[in-house]
Amino acid sequence: MKLVEAIIKPFKLDEVKDALLEVGVQGMTVSEVKGFGRQKGHKETYRGTEYTIEFVPKVKIEVAVADGQVQRVIETITRTARTGSIGDGKIFVRDLGAVVRIRTGETGESAL
């Protein structure tokens, strides 16, 4: 099992979510985050005072998936979250040690 973490542009969230549901993902966790990569921030000017805003608002999606599903999920996110311009985000994949469904106590892939 893997945990796929994708940092994407906020306005792409709905598109990515719909596409993931279509390829069989059952659930996900979403949080509003801030950060920067190569995009860096933007500049704001108020009465001549300039501020550099380094941390840009982003959305983080976390999806826990079975090993066989990982490639498809990554492709789906890459396809739908891309705009082609700088700041499209990143996908991190890590191994998932255990999963438990709290209601039933099921563990492993059947709990996904």
Binding site: E44, T45, Y46, R47, G48, T49, Y51, I53
Partner: protein, 424 residues
């Protein structure tokens, strides 16, 4: 608790004074109702309407303008400054302020206390203070100016002033700076005798506020994190709505200063409106060329700079001259505000850059553009305001402490001074 106690002690005599004088005021009000026919209803209506317009400049105009410029943790505290000064000055104005400014002249320096508690100030017109309107209409109109001016200064110490210190400061400032200055220029004081003209308050209101603001910013010091932390305005739509209301009210501020529904009022309105419009455009173009983008805050700041600048000469300059004043206002205030960033004093909401510079430019322009009007009063008024200001600030600092603690500053005025939050 100690702050509350100190305030309580200060307020008590004032309350007693109100109680003592209330009966006298009441009697005058009744006696004056059978005023003679010299009262002109058109003039009176215009001055009353203008009074309401100037009130709208303070609240909600200035409160929104300033409230939007600060960070969200300080918005209520900032709005409170203007609101409470309005209430405080209103009470003081009736008790002694009006008399200090407009009461019988004492050596060209100050008005006597003969009219304290509005004693002898009834509904009949006074020949030298609005000869065609009830005397109390003049009192009310001038009250709004007396309240607007210290409210303007609060922009210089926004986000870090102790509330009780603000109250004491407003009282002292009104008595020791505003009253003499307004008397000198508007009530036959020595500057007026020299030939200085100040139509609606370019010197008395805007330059004095700007100069005092500079002193405040210097004595109080910068906000913590100034120059490194993100301190952008928390709500620019507030600022723009506030600008619109200031602009709206300013038509009464300058137009009403004609003290009648007459040709001077029309000229003042024309000049006021045109100066605001051209100054907004001038600032926008300057910023566009200098920084690459025209900003909404720039247009708003330019409009207010134009309004402040035209105030001194609104009744004396024609439409094209007013537009020249506007261009000068937009460009000069923009330059000073860019330059301020390099100097490093923290005039938080740019009272110096907009009102101080605007006031001085306006007085100079009035001298140049107005027909048969000169103004040597600017530099003298400037110097007086600056020197006296330091004394007042040091006194308040010694008595109460001007500035909130570093922790309180981090929490913000709203929670630390008022136990509430704007957006919860």
């Amino acid at each position: 608790m100690t702050i509350l106690t100190r305030c309580g002690i200060g307020i008590l005599p004032a309350v007693m004074f109100v109680a003592l004088t209330a009966s006298g005021v009441w009697a005058q009000g009744v006696a004056g109702t059978q005023g003679p026919a010299r009262i002109n209803s058109g003039d009176t209506a215009w001055v009353l309407a203008s009074t309401a317009l100037v009130l709208a400049m303070i609240a909600p105009g200035l409160t929104l303008f300033y409230g939007g410029l600060v960070r969200s943790k300080n918005v209520l505290g900032t709005i409170m400054h203007s609101f409470v000064i309005l209430c405080l000055v209103s009470v003081m104005w009736v008790l002694w302020g009006y008399s200090l400014v407009y009461g019988p002249d004492r050596g060209g320096v100050i008005g006597g206390l003969d009219w304290a508690g509005l004693s002898g100030v009834g509904l009949d017109p006074n020949p030298s203070h609005g000869p065609t309107i009830p005397h109390q209409a003049f009192v009310l109109f001038q009250l709004m100016f007396a309240a607007f001016t210290p409210a303007l200064i609060t922009g210089a110490f926004a986000e870090r002033m102790r509330f009780s210190a603000l109250l004491l400061f407003a009282v002292l400032w009104s008595v020791f700076i505003y009253s003499p200055l307004a008397h000198w220029l508007w009530a036959g004081g020595w500057l007026a005798r020299l030939g200085a003209v100040d139509f609606a308050g370019g010197a008395v209101v805007h330059t004095s506020a700007g100069v005092s603001a500079l002193a405040c910013a210097l004595v109080l010091g910068r906000r913590r994190g100034y120059g490194s932390d993100y301190m952008a305005p928390h709500n620019l739509p507030f600022v723009l709505v506030g600008t619109g209301l200031l602009w709206f009210g300013w038509l009464g501020f300058n137009g009403g200063s004609a003290l009648g529904a007459n040709a001077t009022a029309v000229g003042a309105l024309m000049a006021t409106h045109l100066a605001a419009a051209t100054a907004a455009l001038a600032w926008m173009v300057a910023e566009w060329l200098h920084r690459g983008k025209p900003t909404a805050l720039g247009v708003a700041s330019g409009a207010v700079a134009g309004l402040a600048t035209v105030t001194a000469g609104a009744g004396y300059v024609g439409p094209l001259s007013a537009m020249l004043v506007g261009v000068a206002a937009g460009l000069s205030c923009y330059l000073v505000i860019v330059w301020k960033g390099k100097i490093g004093y923290d005039d938080t909401l740019d009272v110096v850059g907009i009102h101080g510079v605007g006031g001085v430019v306006g007085m100079l322009a009035t001298g140049l553009l107005a027909s048969s009007a000169v103004n040597p009063g600017g530099p003298d008024g400037l110097f007086f305001g600056h020197a006296a200001q330091f004394g007042i600030l040091k006194l308040v600092d010694g008595l109460i402490g001007l500035r909130i603690s570093p922790e309180e500053e981090a929490i913000g005025l709203d929670l630390s001074q008022h136990n509430e939050r704007a957006y919860s």
